[in-house]
Subunit: 247 residues, 6 copies
């Protein structure tokens, strides 16, 4: 199967890391097709960039999802998740969504680590919108931005380990989620120092997407994910406009 | 004061009606500056169009908010509300947010009328994201699209009146909110047939925006509405990119 | 317009301060009419005094609201708010209610500072009854009673600033509310030392009341705010009894 | 033990019925001491009367609770419940509170029947303030006021039975609560026609109060129920003022 | 009346203590009939032992509840509470349930002390299943297992007192519940050092059970506590199988 | 991989159907190992049988899970789910849990169909314990027991289709879950008549279990799923006792 992996960032750095991690966990027959957004932030870190990324996401999905069997939104804000499910006939999985759902299978209460305090409300709103607020044991905010860099990540690793253990000790978390697409592939490196399962979303979203492709769920014929009606969109990419049956 | 009234739709029909209604309730010294989105849906009615409108909203705000004292988001999904508050130094009010907040001052439990069943989950998610789910008495979904037309609206009016009265009778609503920017100016026409206050958001958002301009709240220096950091955005409108201090 | 400002306390000290603050923010055409309760606590600080104040509030409203265009309940427990809305045909706004509603327009999560730990549950119940519990980032309790005095308030100011900053730093509050009618006029003095908007309710309730007078909402004909039926009340002030059409 | 039974209504009709029902279930050694409010509504039915009754309740408690071992608030709004617990050193139980707590011991989900639609929000707020909203299966509102009269109650009984059965059938209630002090003694008459336990609060509050007298809980020394501080109250009954150690 | 007191543990140590405490608070005419589980854990401390205890509880209830007037589940997980209410025609009360319900009568917000951090989620799930999560002020976890021993309990007492006071000071608890059947009889010893009511469940469950016996609630004829239908159970104790009308 | 499929019922009828459905969706390399409970109900339908089944589940898991790579609890009450995760080192998935989690990936609001009104509260409690109450659009209760038989299922199919469509039409469900292990394999037969995805849990639990085997999550070293401590269990199956390191 072909699995589209969309990172709406306009820089390829995170995408490369994400794609490598996705390929490391995908089944033998799964082809990972990574793609970036065509416009917007290098790496989304503000609400304004996120608003642009909503458009960038449906823009890139209109262009690339056509010949894929499923889509993974490789951005930890699950950007445009509902829109993607509406526009497309194939399964769509967000990485934070996948991490939270899988965490529910591994522990009763979930600790969450986010990077950058200004993004905390974004993640809290996301968790609430998925209906998982009641499952959250606690939050930790790390400012260590080295995690996004290419160099030595020992300090970033140590900070994440400390935060995870603090969630376990003080908030009684039974499973810990690392947010951020850039954390793809990281958990196995830190797991030996954390006494409960440590998860990130990219690998889990790939697995859930494969699962959904096997399931072949029907495309809803009504409700919020019903097929797009015929409508005219103005001054957007023609490929996106064509999704609405436009000229 | 200058009050920017942004409707991200690319058709001017609703905007004209909204601007007229806004002017009818604005204080004498308030200048209403209506503006439409530059790209995207004629009238937003799907999640995919809404994703595009998030971008269209910050795009138009970057262009027009500079010389205004406050902004009203004249779209009933309160599209890009948080991004707008982050990007701008002036107050921003969403119309559904304004309707809900004002409804709290007029009744303990709020009935909500939405147009088009595929938009129901969007409004339910919006109300939940504002934290008002516990105040909602009930929902009614009307499919009467005549309300968006220019012709005789007697049937649309009758349907709204029936839905409002049903919310009062069966769900014990004490105040009723009509969603949709197109409902601007409508409540006074229907109020005589509804025994509890009937609200729409455009007029209320104008009033709340004027109130906030008088209040002169400080721009947050930290948190999710802190000023935009210096970042590089790619292939977006230069005016928007400049908001991030880009070249 | 005439705006009745009711403080159910039987001492005028807080009322004077509140009235001055209200006049400082009211529009030019707004006349502030301050009035105190006729019986009960000097300054409400216990649940028992609050029970008495419920009566004192409707007693004073029956006497004074008749020729006013709106009412502000200048007591931070929003005492008898629902009763006032039932009894009167004009808009009624509570100061804590006004602070919370306005806070929602300025930040996603609200920090609250209360004075005196025995009042904490009263405020928590009040916030819950308004349906805002989900918006609260955290609470801080200050015992500094100097704030109620007339002397030097430097220590009280420093404590409030410290509490507000702690709410921002540790609980990620994006807006902070100071409870207590006595805090009227205080925020501008503290705001330079707090990085997010700092609010108190008196000024905001005045603004919301003015807004509602402009809106002219219909008096509900059914539900919990429907007009008072004809009933006989015994041994209450005749003016109050007359509100029920009694002889 | 002496058990004070306070009905803040100023008419003795309901009180007589309530006292009889209380005596019918009280233990042999329990003396029921019924007392009415000294001022306010004949029978509370509006929010304004309820505000007066808050004062009437603490007024009467100050006068009569002194030589009693416990107090039952024989008014279905649990009026001034928290104030009574603060003012007094002996246990206090509200009748709706008692009905809800006992209902939890008899069924997982509770149906509630209220009389008069304008009181519905009062009961919903009361249930929410007790934290029981999640246990409620459904509500039914009856307008049959015959239940308050002295004549034939066959129609009122039939309406209550129908409502209870409807709660069982459609909302899957496993226990049903009849609100209103006037329902004291009624459940045994209706129970044969209802397939799940049918409760009212007066008898249950008497039993819970007896239980608490046996338990002899300590008077809290801090928190919201801590002893009243020394304060001056103005123009209230001297007996009430004396509770605050005033002159 | 005969009151069956079931501790599903297979060791009699806790049962003896529990029975003594129950007898100390039971009314003169109440006979306490203690009984242990026939199989399973000495003292339940894990989820797996709890699963076994669910069976052990209904097994022992089938054998012993027949000639009793009510049942107290003397195990702090309220094990098989709903099943017991379904199987039996007499009232059933769980000790943690009883402690929480009674706590609601004594304070607005409840602090809870649990022993052993691996049991914390069990108690949190239990409190949530009863619908009391909103009443909880905070949790404290003590590892002091001396409390289960026979020796000097000064250290255990000191730890509980410290935890209770910390709940009062930092979380503003107004009443504190000690979990664990082994805490039966302990509160009076610690109460002088704690400024708010300190509760444990065994004594309270005895009192609530006596109250329900007096009330004589009807056995539900439908819903989740309806009488057992005729069914065949395989390889369980014949007395239990006979409850289902089996051969 | 070997996947243990445990149905705690003591009749093989449902198990056969479940095993067949599991094999139909399992990957080629997955061996399905079905096993029944050794004691208890033929088919669980009451809370009392469910209490027995908790023991039967851990009993059978102790015997059979040893050489398996993961476990599916093929009983729609997710019986002993947490105990199984505690006792075992391999992943465990409940079928209703799997259906709910997967439903979240396919629709924003979930409709649920249950069979037999006395089981409704069991499912509502289960959904609440998983934290999914906020995602539920509505419930439908069917009494058609033909679904459990071997004969013609046309009537049962028609009832399920009608209930699913009613959930879509009136409650705006976007995905519908059929509860009951016996529904394994049924959705494809009904899907053409239902406009939104129709799910059952057995197939989905198999897929989620395979996913978790691939993931190889670490066994928690602390918290509620930490390895069993050494303890003595009395009169349980020696294989189960041995799990606790007993003699």
């Amino acid at each position: 199967m072909r699995l589209l992996l969309v990172n709406p960032n306009t820089s390829g750095f995170v995408t490369d890391r994400v794609a490598a991690a996705a390929r490391a966990v995908a089944r033998p027959g799964t082809e990972i097709v990574p793609v970036n957004g065509r416009f917007g932030a290098r790496i989304i870190g503000t609400r304004t960039e996120l608003a642009v990324a909503q458009h960038a996401m449906v823009d890139v999905l209109a262009r690339h999802a056509g010949d894929c069997d499923a889509v993974v939104l490789a951005v930890s804000y699950d950007t445009a998740l509902h829109a993607a499910r509406e526009m497309l006939d194939v399964p769509v999985v967000g990485i934070t969504e996948a991490a939270l759902l899988t965490a529910c299978l591994l522990g009763t209460r979930i600790g969450v680590i986010v990077y950058g305090r200004r993004t905390l409300p974004l993640y809290q709103e996301l968790v609430a919108s998925h209906g998982f607020t009641g499952r959250i044991a606690g939050w930790r905010v790390l400012e260590t931005t080295a995690v996004y860099g290419d160099g030595d990540q020992a300090a970033a690793d140590a900070a994440a380990i400390a935060a995870a253990n603090d969630l376990v000790e003080r908030d009684f978390a039974e499973v810990v989620v690392l947010t951020g697409a850039v954390m793809a592939g990281v958990p196995p490196r830190l797991q030996p120092s954390v006494p409960v399962p440590l998860l990130e979303g990219v690998g889990l979203a790939v697995r859930q997407a494969e699962m959904l492709v096997d399931l072949k769920p029907v495309k809803p014929r009504c409700g919020g994910y019903a097929p797009l009606p015929v409508r005219e969109l103005v001054d957007v990419d023609p490929v996106l406009a064509a999704r609405f049956g436009g000229p």
